[in-house]
Every structure is written in structure tokens, then in C-alpha cells.
């Protein structure tokens, strides 16, 4: 069943919810990288330029994504 689901997903069945979660993880990773480069929190535009994703899309991903608190465990699992 896992195989079938994976096949379906890869075949145009990918749920937005999954993509947004992945994007939100990437946003938080990018933010950490930029913050250490700039020595201050990056703005949305800076994140957007770095990731090639519009600031509005970023706000959507942040909302549907992984809560910041559970990020650490997700990334380091």
C-alpha cells in the first residue's frame, strides 16, 4: 500500500499540505543561514530572494507548515 500511495503522489497526486510543510522546513533552515550571515533576522524579502519563493507564498507555507517548536526534532530526526 505504501508503494501505491507513493506512486499516486508522484503521479500528480501530491497534496499541497505536504509541499507546504516541506517548504516551511526549508524557510526555517534558510532563515538560520541568513541570520548567521547578516547577524540580524532576515526580512521576508531577503528570504524570498534567497529561496525564489514569493513573500506571500512564504506566509502561506509558514501557516500550514510545521510549528517552529517541533522543527528541531523534525530536522534532526
Amino acid at each position: 500500500i505504501g508503494e501505491i500511495k507513493r506512486f499516486l503522489r508522484d503521479d500528480g497526486m501530491i497534496k499541497v499540505s505536504r509541499t507546504l510543510k516541506e517548504l516551511s522546513i526549508k524557510i526555517h533552515q534558510t532563515r538560520e543561514v541568513l541570520e548567521s550571515q547578516l547577524h540580524r533576522p532576515p526580512t521576508l524579502q531577503e528570504l524570498s530572494d534567497e529561496m525564489g519563493v514569493s513573500p506571500e507564498e512564504i506566509t502561506l507555507a509558514l501557516e500550514s507548515g510545521v510549528p517552529v517548536e517541533s522543527l528541531y526534532t523534525t530536522i534532526h530526526e
Partner: protein
Amino acid sequence: MNRQNYMKVEFTSRSENEAFARVAVSAFITQLDPTLEELEDVKTAVSEAVTNAIIHGYENEDGVIYVACTLNGQTASITVEDHGKGIPDVKLAMEPLYTSKPELERSGMGFTMMQTFMDSLDVQTTFGKGTTVTMTKTFQSSPADL
């Protein structure tokens, strides 16, 4: 979620608000757990309708655009309304490749894209008063719900 859920958003007709309109609709529709492809389709259709309101309806002057979305089961009904100049000949306007602004390098494919990416498209317009575009799309149920 048996009764219908709706949202309406209104905003200044500026191109910098187009991404906002797209994301507002996306955020509301994520409740139906769409696939990436389904959501992309809706976003493209909303973009085209909002761009039309900005550049044709209001001809880049400040006006107000209204976007509404109603959810009924797995079906979303979306309207994009402007109180701009209206369309003198809708049948002609909806023809593929027709554009009244060839000088702006418009493709004339906006209505065709709305038609292609959504399940239905209806255009109501009164010349001199404005235009309301209504589109619907039914989303697949989540595999988990089947």
C-alpha cells in the same frame, strides 16, 4: 463542515495585491486538502481574473476588487468582481487570443486559461459598470477519506 463556509476579500486594484489575492484564495482552499496541481490551477485562474480587473477593468487606476470563495462539499466557487469599465462584447472577449490591448503584449489567453483550469466559468458584465467572473472547481477527495 456541513454548512457552507465562505470568505470574501476586497482590496485596492494594484498589481502588488495580486499575489495577496492568490494566497488568500489558496489559504482558504487548503481546507479542501487539494493536490498541488489543483491549487496551481486555481491560482492561475484567480491571477488571470484579478489581472484583468486591474488592467482592463480599472485600467491601472485605483479601484476596488472583490474576491469571494464559497466551499460546498469538495466544490469551491470563486468570484472576482470589479466596478470598472465592463466588457462591450463578452463573446468576442472570451475568444482565444482576443485582446483589446495588443500594445501591452497581452496574450489574449486569460479567459481561455480560466476555462481550461476550472470546471466552469461564467462572465457577467455591464458596460460602464463592471464585471463579475464566477468560476467553480471540484477537488478530489483525499485518498485517506475514500
